[in-house]
């Protein structure tokens, strides 16, 4: 297996007007690694994630995906996006399409997969996220947890090299969080490379290889789950933890 990291971020900066949302951030994610990003709101976690598949275009620095440096070329961006799965806080399922159609859209349109093959793949993925019976339902007929699991299946259908999760459980009712986290844990166990913005400490403890703490657009500390709870180094991280932990 080659040693190039799946994601390599070098000196990335992103401004919104006067606000430095991401300020000179560098980070590498290795194949099979699960990295959880935590930090107060407005610390640039989501922006960092969205720069990786170019939903935001950076102002400075470089990002390479599996050794390929992101440029402004539309074709290359689309090609990269097809290899980077993304799960959103608000699910963003397509409400006019059935669950099955939501999942098969990407493979059919972007990869030119046969309809039948795409549907077989979709059924397999639905079984994997635990809702095989919902293939013909519309998103609005599903609970939030089920919708998010469909969204994960939709991203997996592209057979991505890495999955990005942007606060996947923040919009969910408490009792639905676990079903989504379980799916994510399974993915992590299977060796999927994952970059997760989330404050679910249970998930971080169980699955994360590294935890990145961001504040004011910068990475303050990179640590392991064990050290995070026992020996946080920076004062800012200690304060943050004291606020989010019960």
């Amino acid at each position: 297996m080659p040693d190039t990291p799946i994601v390599e971020i070098r000196n990335l900066s992103k401004r919104f007007g006067d606000l430095e949302a991401v300020n000179d951030v560098s980070l590498e994610v290795q194949r099979g690694e699960v990295v959880v990003i935590i930090g107060p709101s407005g610390s640039g976690k989501s922006t960092l994630l969205r720069c990786i598949n170019r939903l935001e275009s950076a102002n400075g620095g470089t990002i390479s995906i599996d050794g390929e440096i992101l440029t402004r070329d539309e074709k290359q961006i689309n090609h990269i996006r097809a290899e980077v799965g993304m799960v959103f806080q608000q699910f963003n399922l397509f409400p006019h399409k059935t669950v099955l159609e939501n999942i098969t859209l990407g493979p059919i349109i972007v990869k030119g997969m046969e309809e039948g093959a795409a549907e077989t793949l979709a059924h397999t993925l639905l079984a994997k996220v635990g809702i095989p019976e919902k293939a013909d339902a519309y998103p609005e007929q599903l609970s939030g947890g089920q919708q998010q699991r469909v969204a994960i299946a939709r991203a997996l259908a592209m057979e991505p090299k890495i999955m990005l999760f942007d606060e996947p459980t923040s919009a969910l009712d408490p009792e639905m969080i676990k079903e989504v986290l379980d799916v994510m844990l399974d993915l992590a166990r299977e060796g999927m490379t994952m970059l997760v913005v989330s404050h679910e400490m249970g998930f971080a403890r169980a699955a994360a290889h590294r935890i990145v703490f961001m504040d004011q657009g910068q990475i303050v500390e990179i640590t392991t789950p064990e050290e995070l709870f026992t020996a946080p180094k920076h004062e800012r991280l200690k304060r943050f933890l004291s606020q989010i932990l019960p």
Partner: protein, 396 residues
């Protein structure tokens, strides 16, 4: 959108005022008013024709020809206005500045000039450089004017789709164009269907303006009749009533489309009115598709009978393709979709054979569209003149 419409969901039938303190539901008072207007309009026309056939039955036949022309003008213009409107709407939401400015310029200029002035300008002023016939001028005028309004409707529809939809599509690797085509526009179409239906009704009424270009639409036919017989009251009353009836029918259809947006895939009761509305929508859509084909084929036909046969063939073929295409793939036609009906109920429960046959039949009803009616040899351009002369000779 959903929450606003959900408040209009059908209420239990326990009398008109179940609770004195509650406001009368807007939906109910509108429905009552609709039935009263319909009943008054129909009974007046029928009564007049039956009890005073002279001059009413003649008026009805006379302006009946005009009604066909009115529909012809409206449907043809609507087809082009929808295409132009889609372009304008996409242009107004395009990321490129020049395209955006061009689309905005079109919309701003056209919306600032009254339709009647536009029609005069195209027919009379433009003739200094380019002489267009009255029909072409009328269709062009209606198309350009309504294209601007429908364009704004499309823009609003596209912009009402949450930003996350485009992001989710792009994140899968779809291009902007693919995302528009597969994700944004299909959702926007559902949202703009009711306003576009209202534009259709508005255009149907505004098409009376083309009578100034000497086109024999309903108003023009009425004017011709009245100026020869001096029966102004009788004629214009009939013209007004026919416009009213047609508009009433379509406004109800738009109402069910509005309702359908919220009842889509939900288990709300389905009435005959819903099914009839689906029929009317399919009817108009088949006609929209058939109109340019038939227009192109006019040149082939030598006799009126041949025109009729060709039209029937086109409409029949289109209808079959339309129904089979949508049923086999989606279990519902666009008309059924627009009012929220499915052949197979949501959740996949299969209807009984009787139900299924009934539903199929009622969806089949519409289908020879309006094109077939106006292609019929006894109607259309040639016989109009005869009948006019005949009337003139008898009356004057």
């Amino acid at each position: 959108m959903t929450s606003q419409l959900e408040s209009e969901a059908p209420r239990p039938h326990t009398g008109v005022w179940q609770d004195d303190s509650a406001a009368i539901p807007r939906e109910r008072s509108l429905m009552i008013a609709w039935w009263i207007a319909l009943a008054l309009g129909v009974s007046f026309i029928v009564g007049a024709v039956v009890f005073k056939p002279d001059p009413y039955s003649e008026i009805v036949r006379f302006i009946g020809d005009g009604l066909v022309v009115t529909f012809q003008m409206t449907i043809t213009s609507m087809l082009f206005a929808l295409l132009l409107g889609l372009l304008a709407g996409l242009g107004r939401t395009a990321p490129s500045l020049p395209i955006n400015v061009a689309a905005s310029l079109y919309v701003e200029i056209i919306r600032g000039i009254p339709l009647l002035v536009q029609l005069f300008w195209i027919y009379y002023a433009l003739s200094k450089f380019l002489r267009l016939g009255p029909n072409l001028s009328a269709i062009l005028g209606l198309t350009i004017c309504y294209g601007a309004y429908i364009g704004e409707t499309f823009r609003a529809g596209i912009q009402s789709i949450p930003k996350g939809q485009m992001e989710a599509a792009r994140a899968l690797g779809l291009t902007r164009g693919q995302a528009m085509r597969h994700v944004i526009v299909p959702q926007a179409v559902r949202i703009i269907l009711p306003p576009v239906g209202n534009e259709f009704i508005a255009m149907l009424k505004d098409s009376s303006l083309v009578s100034v270009l000497a086109i024999s639409d309903m108003l023009r036919r009425g004017r011709e009749y009245a100026s020869r017989t001096f029966a102004y009251f009788e004629t214009y009353t009939m013209v007004a009533l026919v416009y009213l009836l047609v508009t009433l029918v379509f406004s109800r259809v738009v109402h069910y489309i509005e309702q359908g947006m919220s009842r889509q895939r939900k288990d709300a009761p389905v009435t005959v009115m819903h099914r009839l509305s689906a029929v009317v929508v399919d009817f108009v859509i088949v006609d929209l598709i058939a109109t340019p084909i038939i227009a192109a084929m006019r040149g082939l036909a030598v006799t009126p009978a041949m025109t009729f046969t060709l039209t029937a063939a086109v409409i029949g073929g289109l209808t079959a393709a339309y129904l089979l295409g949508f049923w086999s793939k989606r279990g519902q036609t666009p008309g059924m979709m627009s009012v929220g009906l499915r052949l197979v109920d949501a959740g996949g429960s299969i209807p009984s054979i009787g139900q299924a046959v009934g539903r199929l039949l009622i969806s089949l009803l519409p289908i020879p569209g309006l094109s077939l009616i106006w292609a019929h040899p006894t109607l259309g351009a040639a016989p109009l003149q005869d009948r006019l002369t005949r009337t003139t000779m008898v009356r004057v």
